[in-house]
Symmetry: C2
Subunit: 694 residues, 2 copies
């Protein structure tokens, strides 16, 4: 599943610079305000017009829970992956209704089911504010001052824009400081579920087949955005192509790749290989075992943990694949050479004299980051406090502290322009289960003890003379932040009342707030140093390589392109698409055992389906986690598919693009229609998709 | 499942001293040559005779694969747990027959199926050799010299005994150096499978219900030992009690508890809490995820990984429970007090003057062990080379080196008296699957890289310029040690031929042999220091507390006792036994989904079963991993049950005995008969169990 990366963005330690020389391959996650026009023309003889681009841009939707999607009707219908929507499905389920398991179909607008705290964004405009940001940071500033100045000006630009336009306004750091663009988004927060298949068919083959190909997943989900209680009227939406793709066809992917690390310097990549990835994998393995083992005790446990478990398994598989890329010694030899080459070139040019120390600066900063990364992850990243209730308590505590500061001096997530999104999540009515929250908190406390060490004074302060299990239990059972009204009161009244409340979880959050902020400051300062150094490298690279490039992924809208194309694996030709026939064969091969069991409906409908209809297909488009749910369109900008995964060979795309075997996986537009008509008899939905003119 | 500990004994870093003052509880894993006669008489008015004890002792069987069992007929019939026998079942299964899944029943002697490399031991006699061992170690010896001298005299005693009696002869270190006993075992190596139920009913509820109670497992398995091609004639075997147990009844458990850590000093326990347990859990979590994820890709993968996976899950659950015991601050407060009290007493007595420094010596040694433990586990413990083929290659390599040394100077596992067991395993014809071995080796190499660090010269030597995946692949694919005849030739011809062979896996084993031996030497030296110090503490404790005591567990035969008794949990009374009715109810509650699905046969036989017949029961007997399969007998020494697990509250028994909630789980003798008769129609087997006079 291709959404996993997003979940880690908030805690990502390393940000990325990427200014890539691109050649004859289908590489690239291009900015919509700097699309690969020349490249497309030369390689494919295709030249997208401004209208074509604007139409695709504004038909594209970002799911802030961590994925992509697109408008597919003028009445606000949005399609995404089931595994992007599953977060919402999980939250709206309860002991009686398990929409993940059962699926959902609203036969009328009235039946469409509101989602908790789901925010969709549509990119309306992009403005280059690099000049304004950079001129606000004095040349002579220390890293701490530079960081503060940059935070201030960015908050100011965002606030101005938000107040002027009413649009969500985010300044995006591109090329790791090489450029700053102001992105304005239209926000949709009244989002309702229209259709979801059973998870069993959406995620057919589960973890074992995840990131594998051939695949047989109907990984789709439909929502509708509402405004003022009515379906939103949409100008730009994608026309549905009923035929699907053909072999070697040129296709485009418009979505939100989360994070790539393609042009990190060697010390940064070594840090990922030796520290960040092994750490994350250790944590994910641990969580997977915990959730799996607890989930299997009762069906209700399984339901509660399901969505988290799938997310963890997905990340674990992605990380292991990424780590294998990093553990390839050849990769590092090549990287080292590239780094050295560029440094040699820089040394030759007097106009780049001030760039010469950039690599050393990064290496030094990386060392300091490495030294503090563990504490940063455990405290600020809350890896030691894996609890929804803790997250809420911390947000309440920090809101009151931060709101007393000027906007530009706050922790970034508490700036005024981010408030609507923050409040949406803080006051979400999604169910929180005490037993489940306690399970996760206790185990993350065990993890913290193992990592920080028992005798560490901070550990002792955190445990307060109790075992992890006892401590988690008392915190979860006694906190009042479970109550939304309690949250709202505290949020409004602020810190004094929080004090008075003496809520144990808020007190707990307070206990670690100082060390947590301290280590965050260290990391942010070093990130600033790296950012400045990367900006220099970017400048050098622009000058020396003068190629048209794209920045590393930042969970903002990008355009990728490629060809529908199979590949060879172990001497075997892997076809460009799979069919419904293949689905039933795979289920039979695996003896219909979970996760290869088919939903009842699918067993019954087999005879009605055209078994030769395409289900999934692959292309060479350059995607990464976050692209899940991205529309795949053809030259006519018609929707021909929806991205839902990459194959196992694509897991190195984090670090470099390759099209030998790496492929993006998509569900076919034709296959979707086949299922909606024959299996789900979702006539109303089908009519909305294809019954009207585009 | 109660067998897990054994698997870790070979690599256990910390050995244990335990001289426990025992009170009014049912605590104790007693030596058969020092049984709790007085205690039993006082508490239960029961006095076992010498005959009673000898009968039970020689009816008890040790499974060297890691568990216990007992003779249950005069014709060599042995009963153990399914999960003890499952290692043998896994090895005799192949792509066509999955005996774990299908179960097995031999309707005649001819149909009984030989096991690969399964060795059963029966304890024939015990001889105290403490005096002889100690007098061979000069007072003035350095730790290294003392270790060498001790190894020499022990090997000599064993060799003499083996040559004199033909019996397997092991000198067992008890009270961590307080005593040395020579144990003589009759070995059975022609072991054949007679009956096994489906794993689905033996391990009903799988990992989620493992270590939980109430439970519904028919965790049994029958083997037969042969001598000279015929069923062995057995003098001591247990009479089958057809009624089972009643509430509060006194019962005895005779089995092989693997390892306990009850009287470690505080620094040693801290080491377990802060280092050993977190490390092991990290490794187990990692393995569990790996095996689970690979196993689910195809049914054949699942079959290949199944037995390892269950073992890993079992250890993981046991360790987590144990760690929670260690993470209880109260436990350490108490330990600290006990340690201090004893030290204060020692300080008061001049005759114990030389014991005063024992605690400090242990603390110092523990620090050095801690420093080298990671390398020790990765190299000597082969945690970095998790591969059957590596294990074989190393054994071949070391056999040739060690056999050139005098018996008493060899690594312990290569001493003459251990040869028969070593060869049994080395030349086992059990199938080794390349893909599976490669999977495990690659992942353990990844683990080694993460732990030792990429830039470590040893890591680089091990990887030889390749990624872990590539390295594992070339080693596994190209080694010839898969071939038993190749092994036999090399084993016979020795090192020169090994050199000539240039087998990649043997060369690989050679690559790490020197650093591996070096770190082993460091650990063994420190263990010797600890052993001497613990012997002093033992002496002090004997003098001061002068209580009748039992040593910590050592995977040798022990006698435990207790009452059949339920307990209270969360205010709820948990009954002393479960019934077949409960089995069907639990399956229904869990919607018959794996691992709560019932075998076909069990669904069909429901109406025939007496649903009120007891299935499993609990008692307060003091058991630990390794006790799996231990017979439970009543005062008449009749078999009333078979131990198969402890409940979750019993997982702290590693560190201290408690009978508030901790319970030993057993399958009822009556329940077993019910199933054999009604579900399996195993009339011949039933007749052998109950049809003859005991």
């Amino acid at each position: 599943m291709r959404s996993e990366k997003i979940k880690h963005l908030a805690t990502a330690l390393t940000m990325v610079l990427s200014v890539l020389p691109v050649g004859v391959t289908d590489e690239g996650m291009w900015l919509f305000n700097n699309p690969p026009i020349k490249l497309l023309k030369e390689k494919y003889g295709f030249e997208p017009t401004d209208d074509w681009l604007l139409h695709l841009q504004q038909s594209s939707v970002r799911f802030n829970s961590g994925g992509s999607g697109s408008f597919v009707s003028e009445d606000g219908l949005v399609m995404s992956n089931h595994h992007v929507g599953s977060d919402a499905l999980q939250k709206m389920s309860d002991e009686k209704h398990n929409y993940l398991r059962e699926g959902f179909y609203a036969r009328s607008l009235e039946e469409e089911k509101p989602c908790y705290d789901l925010e969709l964004n549509v990119l309306i405009s992009i403005e280059d504010v690099t000049e304004r940001v950079n001129s606000a940071v004095p040349q002579s500033a220390s890293p701490e001052e530079a960081f503060a100045a940059r935070r201030r000006i960015i908050a100011q630009i965002e606030k101005e824009s938000y107040e002027k336009t009413g649009l969500r306004s985010d300044v995006i750091t591109l090329y790791q400081g090489g450029a700053y663009h102001l992105y304005r988004f239209k926000r949709y927060t009244d989002v309702r579920l229209v259709f979801a298949p059973e998870q069993q068919i959406a995620f057919f083959g589960g973890d074992p087949d995840n990131f594998e190909y051939p695949r047989y997943c109907l990984d789709i989900c439909f929502f509708r955005v509402y405004e003022n209680g009515k379906p939103a009227k949409i100008t730009h939406w994608l026309k549905w192509n009923q035929i699907g793709v053909s072999d070697n066809e040129l296709v485009f992917v418009s979505g939100h790749p989360g994070n790539t690390d393609r042009l990190l310097t060697v010390p940064e990549l070594e840090y990922l290989r030796d520290n960040a990835f092994p750490y994350t994998l250790e944590r994910l393995n641990r969580l997977e075992v915990l959730l799996n083992s607890w989930g299997q005790r009762t069906p209700e446990n399984a339901r509660r943990a399901m969505e988290d478990l799938f997310g963890v398994q997905n990340s674990r598989k992605a990380r292991r694949g990424g780590l294998d890329g990093l553990l390839d010694p050849q990769f590092f030899v090549k990287k080292q050479q590239q780094d050295q080459q560029l440094q040699n070139e820089v040394a030759k040019r007097t106009e780049l004299k001030d760039c010469a120390d950039a690599w050393e600066k990064i290496a030094q900063a990386q060392k300091i980051i490495e030294k503090h990364s563990l504490e940063y992850r455990l405290l600020e990243g809350a890896n030691g406090f894996n609890s929804e209730l803790f997250r809420i308590a911390r947000t309440l505590l920090r809101s009151t502290t931060e709101s007393q500061k000027p906007d530009g001096e706050r922790l970034r997530e508490y700036r005024d322009s981010a408030k609507p999104s923050l409040e949406l999540r803080l006051f979400s009515a999604m169910p929180i289960y005490e037993d489940y929250d306690e399970l996760k908190l206790a185990d993350s406390l065990r993890f913290l003890v193992a990592k920080l060490g028992w005798s560490n004074p901070l550990t002792q302060k955190i445990l307060d003379g109790k075992s992890p299990v006892e401590r988690a239990s008392e915190l979860v059972r006694n906190t009042k932040v479970k109550d939304i009204n309690f949250r709202k009161t505290l949020y409004k009244q602020g810190i004094t009342e929080v004090d008075a409340a003496k809520d144990p979880m808020i007190e707990f959050a307070r206990l670690i707030d100082e060390p947590s902020r301290e280590v965050r400051k260290i990391i942010e300062t070093q990130d600033e140093i790296k950012q400045q150094a990367h900006a220099k490298i970017a400048r050098a690279r622009f000058l020396i390589e003068s190629a048209n490039t794209y920045p590393d992924a930042t969970f903002t809208l990008r355009l990728a392109f490629g060809q529908v194309k199979g590949y060879t694996e172990n001497g075997k030709q892997i076809p460009f698409q799979t069919t419904y026939r293949g689905l039933y064969e795979r289920a039979a091969q695996m003896e219909y055992k979970p996760p290869f069991n088919l939903p009842e409906r699918w067993i019954k409908s087999k005879s009605k389906l055209n078994l030769d209809a395409p289900l999934d297909f692959v292309s060479t488009a350059d995607i990464i986690g976050g692209n899940s749910g991205s529309p795949v369109v053809n030259r006519n900008c018609e929707l021909v598919g929806i991205i839902f995964d990459g194959n196992i060979q694509s897991l190195v795309l984090d670090f470099y693009y390759t099209e030998t075997q790496a492929r993006a996986l998509a569900v076919s537009s034709r296959g979707i229609l086949e299922a909606l008509k024959k299996v789900y008899k979702a006539d109303k939905l089908v009519k909305e998709l294809v019954g009207k003119k585009g």
